[in-house]
């Protein structure tokens, strides 16, 4: 596990920098195709949504509905009312902690 974490930290950092530096060094034409631009906007949406789902209702390789789902519900509610980011995160944490500690 601890090796996995270190490989994750270093590998992510190296590639993150390589991508940034590549952008500063390649000719603009290569990356400005409209299809590439569109897919590039959609990839974060797919990955982040998947992360929200996996972190809310799964544990290891099973589907689990628990206190985290209540927290996510609070976050969705906060976002519907256009709450700023810290309020969204805090309301999820408080709701989830309350359900975890009370039930």
């Amino acid at each position: 596990m601890s090796n996995t974490l270190w490989i994750g930290v270093i590998g992510t950092s190296v590639i993150a920098f390589a991508l940034k530096f590549a952008g500063h060094s390649v000719p603009e034409k290569l990356l400005s195709h409209p299809l590439i631009k569109r897919i590039n906007l959609l990839i974060p949406i797919a990955l982040l949504s998947a992360l929200v789902a996996v972190q809310s209702v799964t544990a290891k390789s099973s589907i689990v509905f628990d206190h985290r789902l209540a927290g996510l519900g609070a976050a969705i509610l906060a976002l519907f009312f256009k709450a700023p980011f810290p309020i969204v995160v805090l309301s999820a944490a408080i709701t989830s902690a309350a359900v975890y500690n009370l039930f």
Partner: protein
């Protein structure tokens, strides 16, 4: 960077402080997912790209392999490369300065720089450097605070940290959902990830949704 025009300075500082403060959420998320305080801080110092950092701790924390964590984070880092393409002709820097510029090429530095267009090239450059360095400073300080705080708390569930992590992801994705394609993709990706979790090795249900994004991109063309 000789004299800094005050409106650009104000824009940069307010963005740096607000965004940097999210570092608390990252530091806490990293520790809640089993990363040490040192590892959390190194991610903020060296990766320095919020969504990628959250992704690697999220995927590995959920039991995914190092490779799937790195791959997911890297797919999210592609956009920084595209920002570099936009920023290079504006900054016109070489050598060491270009390395530094690349490292601080993120959503916020690019965004502030491009928003200064009406104030001229000099303001665009100042906006980039000030925001890049500003976010770097605050993001790293707040990461340390969040990681130490989470470590002191102990059981992540008792403090709601395990729900704060998906809420942070949701807060990152929500503003990106602008049209029907975006919203449909978000829902389909979430369902796909949950439905495949019992069958696929950890990490794959997340990175697999990148394919859904490609399909959605080809689809939306029509």
């Amino acid at each position: 960077m000789s004299r800094v025009s005050s409106p650009t300075f104000r824009d940069s500082l307010s963005v740096s402080l607000t965004v940097g403060a999210y570092g608390v959420a990252f530091g806490a998320a990293a520790v809640a997912n089993g990363f040490s305080v040192l590892q959390s801080c190194l991610l903020s110092l060296l990766t320095f790209s919020g969504a990628s950092q959250f992704a690697v701790v999220g995927v590995i924390g959920a039991g995914g392999s190092a490779i799937s964590g790195i791959a997911t984070a890297s797919l999210l880092g592609i956009r920084n490369g595209l920002y570099g393409v936009l920023m290079a002709p504006i900054l016109q820097v070489r050598g060491l300065k270009r390395l530094v510029a690349a490292h601080v090429t993120i959503d916020e530095s690019t965004g502030v720089s491009l928003s200064q267009e009406s104030r001229g090239l000099k303001a665009m450059r100042e906006g980039f450097w000030l925001t890049g360095f500003g976010v770097f400073l605050f993001w790293n300080l707040f990461t340390l605070a969040g990681a130490l705080g989470a470590k002191a708390m102990g059981d992540p569930s008792a403090w709601g940290l395990d729900a704060a992590v998906p809420a942070a992801f949701l807060g990152l994705v929500w503003p990106r959902l602008k049209n029907t394609t975006d919203k449909t993709l978000a829902i389909v990706a979430a369902i796909f990830a949950i439905a495949t979790t019992p069958f696929l090795p950890a990490g794959l249900p997340i990175i697999g949704t990148a394919l859904l994004a490609v399909i959605a991109g080809l689809w939306a063309k029509k």
